[in-house]
Symmetry: C2
Subunit: 207 residues, 2 copies
């Protein structure tokens, strides 16, 4: 079983987080989900609903240099503040070093970019916030038209619902495409399994 | 602003709840979201992550016969227990009486059925749990092939991700289709806006 550590911070975007966690959560034989927050255990989303973190940065799961297996970062308006939070960026760097995979949804890639973790890599992000995200990582090869981008062990997705498609791709990488298709069928979800499918880049005027 | 009261109970399904709440949450000028639980404020989802209820059944929001404007019910494995919870079914009946709209996702419609709220109405549910849900409401006209079903002020959706499509339809009913399309575009979501679109009925052997 791999530990999926999902970071939450004030004003995270609900679906960025819980879309992917629904997909991983359908395979409890493969994935154990932990919500992680910096210092405060209760964290309000941008839409209002409050989640409770299972672990804080100082807790045992991450003590003594231990890393999660899969690090998941949602986006949301809170990223505008967290890109300037050195404690959070330090934690990201430490976790990303040991994690088998690092995945971000929407403006979550801005956090990875500011931590320097995407330098020299290809990545994508939310289409409406694209200019701002680009400015957080001038040495990143940002892809405007992409549902998600895979670069080695880094997966970055476009806005909000794109995280669901990306997480199914990560499940496919780990456990085969048939398993990912089964998860999508259980969720009655129409998986866009082509990472090049992205009508929103044009809709939001990026291409 | 209309109050969207979303019921949470142990082992609710993450995406059933947070897919629709993401859509409503994108229009804070129209919708205020409240998570509601019976007695315990912290409620673990079937996938693990814990949410904190804003209100309990006994709290002010629902005191003195007051109702929410929109009642939202997720599904999930916890519904197998809650269909036998008289306190929850009583609360549903009381809330549904005053609510402008009642919406369920996945096996959430089993709760409405057991409360008698769907008698004589058309409704749908999760495709893999369909036989069990049907048995909860023998006087309901269950539709096997439907992404969601609208019957007056009752909206019921198919499994998990179908709740997103249904909530966009409810937003369209209240604020026009253009507004719903804008929300879908913000979420970079490929809205299946035809309630008859349902490849999963066939995939799961129902038709």
């Amino acid at each position: 079983v791999q530990t999926v550590a999902a970071l939450i911070f004030p004003d995270f975007e609900l679906l960025d987080l819980f879309g992917p966690l629904e997909m991983f959560g359908m395979l409890p034989e493969h994935f154990a989900i932990r919500l992680v927050a910096e210092r405060e255990r209760h964290v309000a989303s941008a839409q209002g609903p409050v989640s409770r973190a299972d672990d804080l940065f100082a807790d045992d799961l991450f003590a003594n240099g231990r890393s999660c297996d899969i690090l998941l970062l949602p986006g949301g308006p809170g990223t505008r503040r967290e890109v300037n939070n050195p404690a959070l960026l330090d934690w990201l760097r430490a976790q990303a070093e040991g994690a088998a995979y690092v995945a971000s949804v929407c403006t979550g890639s801005a956090l990875l970019a500011r931590a320097g973790l995407l330098d020299g890599r290809t990545a994508t992000s939310n289409k409406q916030a694209f200019a701002w995200v680009q400015a957080q990582g001038p040495r990143v090869d940002w892809q405007a038209r992409a549902r998600w981008v895979e670069d080695g062990r880094f997966f970055t997705s476009s806005g909000v619902s794109a995280g669901i498609d990306m997480s199914l791709a990560l499940i496919a990488r780990l456990h085969g495409e048939a398993r990912a298709r089964q998860v999508a069928a259980w969720a009655e979800y129409d998986w866009h399994s082509d990472p090049g499918w992205d009508p929103f880049a044009e809709l939001h005027g990026l291409v």
